[in-house]
Each structure stands twice: as structure tokens, then as C-alpha cells.
Point group: D2
């Protein structure tokens, strides 16, 4: 298959156009849960970002972002992982293209466990082992690694916004925890 990059220039959206689309269409997202694995493939730790939310609150967060026009899901995953964890993170995407779950973030709270006041986002969620050096980038203050047992703690999950605590718990279950 041909290697391809998202088209640049006038085929992308201005801020106003994106705002308008967000009121009319479900927007495609990816969520990635970065993990460290041992030589047997068992998850040994889960990486969570510390972010300042739009309301100035500090919140634990997964790697998350939009899929662009003409961008592969795999490319979007790599792009957002490198944006948040740095270019040396060495993510190892799974061989199968199906997400372990689909998180439907609704602008109306309570429709699903997931909520995004800005938009109706449909997010394909993946667990991604990272083998390299990870450093928080962009608007992430910190990257912290938790053991699966720590990540299962309901209080930790409660520190996450928009239902991402639920998504974290689902990711751990998918990995056998």
C-alpha cells in the first residue's frame, strides 16, 4: 500500500470551520494508553499524563487527539503519541487495526460513560507499548508511570476527566488486569 501523508494547505479546516463541523458531525478521535511491557508482553506499568484542563484544573489524562482528513488511524496514533511523549518514545502499535473499545464522547452528559462538552467525538481506543524514552511534551506537565494495581485504584481513575478513568479501567481489563 502507498505511504501517504495528510494533505496540507486548503483542504484542512480553519478554526471556525472546525467549530462548525463540531456542531454537525461526529468527530473521529483516537485514545492511546501507553504501557511498558516485560519480555513476555505482560503490562508492567501504565503511563498517565498530567494536564491543565481548559478550566484551569489539573487532571490525569490519556494520549488523545483528532484524526485528520486523509490520515491513517495508525499515523494519527503515532503523531499524538510523539506529540505527548516525545519523538523517542518508540511506540509499538498492535498488528491488528481494531481498537479494543470505542469511546463515544457525547456533548450531553450521561448518554455514555464518556463526555466532551465541545463536541460529539467517537474515539478508537488502543493500548500501545512504548519501548523508548518518554518525556511529557506540549501541554502535558508530567508523565507518571503506575503499576496495573495502582492504575486500578478508583481514586486515581476519579482524577481523570470526561470518563477517561473508565477507559483506563477497560484498557487494564483488556490486558488481563
Amino acid at each position: 500500500m502507498t505511504q501517504i501523508v495528510p494533505q496540507s494547505g486548503n483542504s484542512w479546516l480553519s478554526r471556525e470551520e472546525l467549530d462548525s463541523a463540531r456542531e454537525r458531525l461526529p468527530i473521529l478521535y483516537i485514545d492511546a494508553i501507553p504501557v511498558r511491557v516485560d519480555e513476555m508482553g505482560t503490562v508492567t506499568s501504565v503511563g498517565l499524563l498530567l494536564r491543565v484542563t481548559g478550566h484551569g484544573q489539573i487532571s490525569r489524562a490519556l494520549v488523545s487527539g483528532r484524526v485528520l482528513y486523509h490520515e491513517r488511524i495508525r499515523s494519527a496514533l503515532i503523531r499524538h503519541l510523539e506529540k505527548d511523549l516525545g519523538p523517542l518514545a518508540l511506540p509499538r502499535l498492535p498488528a491488528n487495526p481494531a481498537p479494543f473499545t470505542v469511546a463515544e464522547y457525547f456533548p450531553t452528559p450521561g448518554v455514555t460513560p464518556f463526555h466532551d462538552p465541545r463536541q460529539h467525538a467517537v474515539s478508537l481506543a488502543f493500548v500501545v507499548p512504548v519501548e523508548g524514552d518518554c518525556e511529557p511534551h506540549q501541554d502535558a506537565l508530567e508523565l507518571t508511570w503506575f503499576t496495573p494495581a495502582e492504575a486500578l485504584d478508583e481514586r486515581l481513575q476519579g482524577e481523570m476527566a470526561g470518563g477517561q478513568g473508565t477507559l483506563l479501567r477497560q484498557a487494564l481489563a483488556y490486558c488481563g488486569f
Copy 2:
């Protein structure tokens, strides 16, 4: 969780707006492969539609369509299955929300096995057992049931447009064939 229906009226897209969005954003779709199962859950037959394509050609097709703003994936699946197979089809959606695969239809041929000249569509694909009476509706000329062995035939798969023959083969593999 609250039951919800897609919002009507001015929050939906006009034809012009949809055409514009299709040049700027990946559009979220579902593909459904309707199947008959026996009392053990084993697939006994696969339903394919016969459609007239935009170019006046006749083509075998899966159930396929767009997810609307503020619409659940499950609702979109039911809506498109009932639109194509009729209101008595009694689809039995799987309990887990993850698709068995994700088909990335690109406007550029050759990027993936899937191609849609109109748009960049990202489609969540599901195998859906149907228990009721199915009749082709809307623009479908016919609904034909094939055994898994017949559906594995490369010539049959070759009668499908946009890469749906590949998706059919992947669905059969997912069901153990």
C-alpha cells in the same frame, strides 16, 4: 444511561455542508455484515445486497452508512440495518462495542484495501446476526443469502465495490471461516 435520539432540525447538515465536510474531515461510517446463525451461534449464511451503483453498475454490497451527529454507534447500526433489510429483520447487535475491524476508505485508491471516491470514510465493521424476516428496501434490488463457503469465493468477493469483498472475507475469518 439516558436513551437519546439524534438531534433534528438545524444541527444537521445540508447537502452543501456535507459535501464541504467530506473534503475536510474523515466521515464516520458503520459497515454491517448481516448473518444467520444456528442454535449454537455458528454462522450458517451471510446476506449480501444487490445495488445499482452511482455509475449504473450492479454490485453486491454490505449494509453501510453514515453515523449522524449525536447518534450512538448502536443506533446507527440498527437504523441502517432496518433501512436496508426492513423493520422486521430483528438485528441482534453484539454486547461489546468494539468493531471486529476498522475499514479506512480513502478517496485515493491504493492507500488501503478500501476506496471511496467521494470521501475519506472511516468505517467500524460489525457482524450482526438477524433473526427476523429480511426484505431488501430502499435502493437495494435484492438480498441474497450465501453459505460461508460460497461467500469465501473470490469471484463473489470480486463483484463487490470499494474493497467490500475484502471486508466480507475479514468478517468470515472473524467468524471462524
Copy 3:
């Protein structure tokens, strides 16, 4: 494919032979989590059995049992579901043959979250919608239906033996809870 039933008579195991095999080989099991779903396929409740364990304790339990020689996985699932829930339960097995997880019950505690003092059992775990009337049978005292929110309660999960509380939580996560 030919319909087949497990072979009877001398190809099965005596109690002594089974005890001997249990000390030498991993024994293949299935675990089934019976659920009720609504017309959209969303899980509305989860069924748990109340059993008296070998030690005279009362414990919540999943449907669980051995796969016999020359028995299909699907047949074993139906057999154990009907044995525990009665012949009118109408289980609807999923179309794909892969379990949502594999629970490795070790005779040594702590190797995995799953423990079985009698044997090394490897259990293929499935979520199974049931549509009919369910009544507890055999050694099950009671069948109780819990909402997903109730089933997520750590105390309820704590009432289950051998790590089945973990398996219940994983099943709920798989179904989007």
C-alpha cells in the same frame, strides 16, 4: 461441518484418571457470563449464581465447567449454561469463536489473578446473552441479576472465589462498562 456429539463410554475419564490428568496437564475450561441485553444489544443485567463451595462457604459464581474430549467449545458453553440456568435459558452464543479473555487458573496462588487449588485450568471466557427463562439448577442455590453498576461494585466482586470477581470486571469492561 458435521454435527458431532462427545464420544460416550470408555473414551471418557474415570474419576481416578481425571484426578491423575489434573496433576499432569492443563485442563480446558469455559467460563460464561450470562447477560440480559436490550433491543440495542446493550447489557442491562448480569446473572450470577449463588453456590455452596467445597468448603461449605456460600459464594457468587459464574457459569463454569470443563470441555470434554471431542466436544466443541460451543457445545460445552451450551451444555454448562443449560446445566446451570435450565433448558429454557436460550443462550445466544457470539458468532466469533474467540473468547474475550483467557483465565489461567493456577493451583499455586499468585501466579495469575485466577486460582484453582484442584488443578491448572485454562478457561476461555465468553459473555453470553440469554433470552429465555433462567432458573438455577444443579448445585446452584440461586440466580441473581445485577445491573452493570451493581456488578462493578468491588464488594460484590469480593464475594466471588478463585478470581472470578476479576473475570466479572473484565467482562463488564469488554461490554463497555
Copy 4:
């Protein structure tokens, strides 16, 4: 979780005992499809072994073998991959413990697509990216890498015994081909 190795000595099976068990119990196996992936996780090639079968015929084969008493599935996968591909293969097992499918090899042909005249084997099948140097070991004459398109060829799949051609096709479908 405690690291553990299969118990040695008298808890394992003699050849006679294994032959006896094979007539009485389903035997737990793993099948592994070794793949090379690119930096995006997309499968670029699939590794097939060339073996001499018991009947002196030459046959393409997957990595396959028994799970031992008190052995983790993950350990069995690593053990068989290293046995067939050498100790430098560097297999990268997936983070989730569920197989992509379950192959039920019956001693009676025609019950499922899978057949093993020696026994009723239930095999958990995994796609495993390998990053290191692979060399055929033990009774494997050769290891050949095929592109996904080559591996989809029905003639190649026809060179495989016991239904492994079907399993190869299912693995490719699972990886998006």
C-alpha cells in the same frame, strides 16, 4: 505476579501417559503466526516454516505446540517461538491475553476446518511480531517470509496441513489483509 516455571520431574507426562491422555481429554495448544511489522505496526511479511511431516511429506507450517502443566500461555508461546525460530528471534507478544481465534483440531476430519489425527487439540492462536534474527531450528528445514499478498494465495495455503492454511488466512484478516 510471581514468576514461575513449569514443574519438572514426575509431574510431567511420560510418552505413554500423554498418549493415553490424548484419547481422553482435549489437549491445550498454541499456534503462533510470526510476522515482521514496519514502524507503524503494519504487517510487512509472514513467516512460514517448512517441515517434514510424520508421513515424510514436506509441508508449510505455523509455529505450534503444546502448553505444559503449570506453564503460562505466554511462556508456551515464547518457548515454541524460540524452539522453531531460534533464541534471537525477539518475539513481541501482544499485551492482551486473548487469542485472535481458537482452532479446534479434531481427530475426526470435517468437524471443524482443523484436523489432527493424533488428538483433539484446542489451540489458542496469536499473531506475534518478531524483531530479531530468525533461523529455523529443530525439525524445521527452512523459514520463509512471504508478503501478505503472497500469503493470501490459496495455493500457498493449500500447502499447509491440518487446516493451518485457514488459520493463516484468518490471521491475515485479523491484521487488516
